[in-house]
């Protein structure tokens, strides 16, 4: 029994803990991890997410001869630790990951010497974000199959259509909506599952995980998004973050105010706090809640009540997100965006009062709550606090907001970042040390990501992993490949490759491309990455949204020495085109 939200539920524990414990290694170690399965009637498995290791140790049942761990059975994982950085581990069996079988895994450089001077930090904390649900994973999946709208509680209503008609006229409204209707897609589908309580290191926002610091210290925060289904926009108001590592791999430092983190991604940031208290805010992109944590000056009493920040406006998907290019960015939505940004900022300044305790209560009830209402309410509250404070410059923009009352912004990628704030983009990431392999791709593998929400079927190249005519991707050992992820669906997919790092083609030179184990492919977009196939074996490549993977969105990349194992057929290849700028990820 685990009690996170107040309702005791049965979940999976590791060594008696809900949220598996932190595992720490040093580069060069030989890791020996003995896993014993005490689950009564299910197989389990553990996958070391982002680690370079022999295929058998990767822990995906059905791959490389690994057969899972039977009830009451054991498996000894044993591998040489060949890298350093922030990683994590989780089950690769059914929905066990959602049910609690995940934890952080940190590998320190040899001798714990930072890989670069700018990585020197006096404190080092894991900040693992995750989404906890009172319903068990198998039940959630079953519910999605009964009705894909089972957890959609932010759908547009008749009133939304009516206000669009009033604003834009009947014709424009029809044009905007007819395509969505024909495609049978919802503009509001930012996350398939709602009702989550978001956790930091297993703690609810009210439990408020807190890391201590002394002024003058540098603090390394290792953000891991261990969510089953959630993306977050992460920020620490009034504190600049220096991104030093992405997916465990060091990058040249990028100072940012916020970043979006997809399921299964990790980012390490270094901060230099000077105030007494900071709040780490990780807001789910559907704006249904926050994962909350704190940084607190040592020896200073912590605040007793946790003040929940107001939600940012959620984004509506656009035609662009569907891959139907003709997206017209209309001026009003652009303006709304900046106004909201101002509001967010003002909120920080005035937030300590009644509004916040109200928000905190709302959070408890958020499973049943109408999220549209929540946005609305928080705006109203903000406006009130604004009145009381008679604050200076923002007044004007607030009153404009009052008239217009925007509730949503346009486009998946729109995080409502305040004006003047820097949000991390994939294009900012540059490898810290030059890539050893800067060859151009010999061949391109196109990986089409598709699916229908209605039946809750998700596919790679039109096939589910379970399909009889499913074909694995095959590459030659040592081959240099371009993986071209073409997202034909209206949802973002964090695509994860096991066993090897991809070099994300983000507009940087070949030597500077960052290593990634998971790349977000936004709705309707194409993202490419280069891969040196230097690890023999069978490697899973899948969407890291748990229920997408469960629905079939998984494939197998086989790296083989074709000469030896005569099994490999000539994979369908397309002529390699020179890398163009157009397909880079902007997230």
């Amino acid at each position: 029994m685990v009690n996170v939200t107040g309702k005791p539920v049965q979940r999976i524990t590791v060594n008696g803990k809900f949220i598996a414990p932190l595992l720490e290694f040093e580069e060069g170690d030989e890791a020996v991890i003995h896993v014993h399965n005490q689950l009564k009637d299910q197989d389990t498995s553990l996958h070391w997410h982002g680690l370079l290791l022999p295929g058998l140790m990767d822990g995906v049942p059905g791959f490389n001869g690994f057969k899972g761990i039977k009830p009451n059975g054991s498996f000894e994982y044993r591998f040489k630790v060949r890298q350093n950085g922030t990683y994590w581990y989780h089950a690769h069996s059914k929905g066990q990951e959602q049910d609690g079988l995940y934890g952080p895994l940190v590998i320190y450089p040899k001798g714990k010497q930072p890989v670069a001077k700018h990585e020197n930090a006096e404190r080092d904390y894991v900040v693992m974000l995750s989404d906890f649900h009172e319903t068990k994973s198998d039940k959630i999946m079953a519910n999605l199959k009964k009705s894909a709208e089972y957890y959609q509680n932010q759908r547009e209503t008749v009133a939304d259509v009516w206000s669009q008609v009033k604003d834009q006229g009947l014709k424009a409204t029809w044009q905007d909506r007819s395509m969505w209707n024909q495609m049978r897609m919802l503009k509001t589908d930012l996350s398939d599952v709602t009702g989550y309580t978001f956790l930091v290191n297993g703690k609810t926002p009210q439990q408020n995980w807190t890391g201590a610091f002394k002024v003058g210290e540098k603090v390394r925060l290792r953000f891991i998004n261990a969510s089953a289904m959630s993306f977050f926009d992460v920020r620490i108001p009034n504190l600049k973050m220096m991104v030093v590592s992405a997916d465990g791999q060091p990058v040249q430092p990028v100072p940012v105010d916020e970043f979006r983190i997809g399921a299964a991604e990790t980012y390490d940031v270094i901060v230099e706090p000077t105030q007494t208290h900071y709040q780490i805010q990780a807001e789910s992109i559907d704006r249904s809640g926050f994962a909350i944590a704190s940084l607190q000056k040592e020896m200073k009493p912590a605040q007793h009540t946790v003040t929940m920040p107001a939600a940012r406006p959620r984004a509506l998907l656009t035609m662009d997100d569907m891959g139907h290019g003709a997206h017209v960015q209309d001026e009003t939505s652009k303006m709304d965006h900046s106004q909201h940004a101002e509001m967010d900022k003002s909120k920080m300044d005035h937030s300590q009062h009644t509004q916040m305790s109200k928000m905190a209560m709302n959070h408890n009830a958020h499973g049943e709550m109408d999220m549209g209402d929540m946005n609305h309410k928080s705006h109203a509250d903000m406006n009130m606090s604004q009145m009381h404070h008679h604050s200076d410059k923002q007044q004007s923009s607030m009153s404009v907001t009052n008239q217009h009352k925007p509730q949503a912004v346009q486009g998946w990628a729109n995080a409502s970042t305040p004006v003047g704030h820097k949000a991390l983009q994939y294009t900012d990431l540059r490898a810290l040390t030059p890539q050893p392999d800067t060859r151009a791709a010999e061949r391109e593998l196109v990986i089409r990501l598709g699916g229908t929400m209605e039946r809750y079927i998700w596919t790679i190249d039109g096939k589910k992993f379970s399909d009889k005519d499913f074909e694995p991707l095959k590459v030659q050992y040592g081959e240099r490949i371009r993986l071209k992820f073409v997202n034909e669906s209206m949802m973002a997919h964090p695509m994860h490759l096991h066993g090897m790092f991809m070099q994300l083609e983000n507009g940087q030179s070949a030597a500077d491309m960052p290593n990634k184990h998971t790349v977000i492919v936004p709705p309707g977009k194409t993202v490419t990455a280069l891969l040196t196939a230097d690890e023999l074996g069978e490697w899973a490549i899948h969407c890291h949204l748990l229920y997408h993977m469960s629905a079939g969105m998984m494939s197998k990349l086989i790296v083989a020495n074709v000469n030896e194992a005569k099994t490999a057929t000539q994979p369908t290849s397309t002529p390699v085109q020179p890398s163009t700028g157009e397909s880079h990820a902007h997230h």
């Binding site: 029994m1 685990v2 009690n3 005791p8 049965q10 979940r11 999976i12 524990t13 590791v14 060594n15 008696g16 809900f18 414990p21 932190l22 595992l23 030989e30 020996v32 991890i33 896993v35 005490q38 197989d43 290791l53 022999p54 295929g55 049942p61 059905g62 490389n64 001869g65 690994f66 057969k67 899972g68 040489k80 069996s93 079988l101 080092d124 519910n143 199959k145 009964k146 009705s147 008749v158 009133a159 495609m183 049978r184 290191n201 703690k203 439990q207 995980w209 807190t210 109408d370 229908t452 209605e454 039946r455 992993f465 379970s466 023999l536 074996g537 069978e538 629905a551 079939g552 083989a560």
Partner: protein, 299 residues
């Protein structure tokens, strides 16, 4: 927790991981509300009591390993894993109970069961409808269909329909073959279209379509249209051919949750009536308003 680190000189870390369901609720409570001694977070793992595992010195050559695995019969192991990635069997069931009154105050109660079980590609559908008008015996209609997914939004279905009409003197049981289409049409119209072929040259078409209009996330109006067309009917209780039944209306439901949905329903219905046969008199067409209230259960 049983995680152990051996001395760092050995440069080998041994971890023991025990994956388990939870034992006692008391214990679980304690874990979840564990002291907020957050500064220790990073070190907790290393401070735990350890159980030292015996480890061998085996050196690992990854290439050897993976080659080995590669040559083994992977298909076999893969098979069990299939079901976790798209091959699963699911089910869905809804039960709609309604009390309907027509313009003249004649009431009837009805129950409609719809259930399916199967994979994404292959399903069995069972639909049953029982309706009892005041002072009449209950009529029953049931269908069993095999459903095959043929396109993103569409299934074709084939099976049998059974009808039981106790008010009839003869031929109370009727069987028909059914062939049809089930899916979501563009603009989100939930659609079912069937052709029925039965005894006595009974050929019939039916179409049901509906769409949700959301007032809020929970208060949902569902305009719908149900139509039956009789192509031919030479049974003892034949209906007039042509458009024999049309019912269009709006069902407004309130989703207390996704399992429990009370509703009200206002509809306009048209019935063409019965053919003159040796076993029944002809009847005139009827039309009028229907008012219903009921409860839908989904599980």
């Amino acid at each position: 927790m049983h995680i152990i680190k051996q001395s760092s000189k050995m440069k080998r870390y041994t971890q023991l991981i025990v994956v388990s369901g939870i034992a006692s609720s008391l214990g679980g409570f304690a874990y979840a509300h564990e002291a907020h001694n957050q500064m220790l977070q990073m070190n907790q793992a290393s401070q735990q009591q350890m159980v030292v595992m015996e480890t061998s010195k085996a050196d690992h050559h990854k290439h050897e390993q993976s080659k080995l695995a590669y040559s083994s019969d992977v298909q076999d192991a893969e098979h069990s894993h299939h079901n976790e990635h798209g091959g699963q069997i699911y089910q869905s069931t809804s039960l709609e109970n309604a009390w309907t009154v027509d313009e003249d105050g004649n009431g009837s109660v009805s129950t409609e069961l719809k259930t399916w079980v199967g994979t994404d590609e292959n399903k069995i559908f069972i639909k049953a409808h029982v309706e009892k008008a005041e002072s009449e015996k209950a009529e029953t209609e049931a269908m069993t269909l095999y459903s095959r997914n043929i396109a993103d939004f569409w299934d074709i279905q084939a099976g049998v329909r059974y009808q039981y009409q106790p008010e009839h003197q003869l031929d109370q049981d009727q069987w028909s073959a059914v062939f049809g289409l089930h899916g979501l049409a563009p603009y989100f119209f939930e659609t079912e279209a069937y052709v029925f072929a039965g005894q006595d040259q009974r050929w019939q078409l039916s179409l049901e379509t509906s769409r949700d209009l959301l007032f809020t996330q929970k208060l949902i109006a569902q305009p719908y249209l149900n139509a039956d067309v009789v192509l031919s009917d030479e049974s003892k209780y034949a209906k007039k051919s042509g458009l024999s039944k049309l019912q269009t209306g709006v069902q407004v439901r309130y989703e207390i949750n996704k399992k429990l949905m009370p509703f009200v329903d206002v509809a306009y219905a048209y019935l063409k009536g019965a053919e003159q046969t040796p076993w029944q008199a002809a009847s005139e067409s009827e039309k009028g308003w229907l008012y219903a209230t009921g409860l839908t259960l989904k599980f």
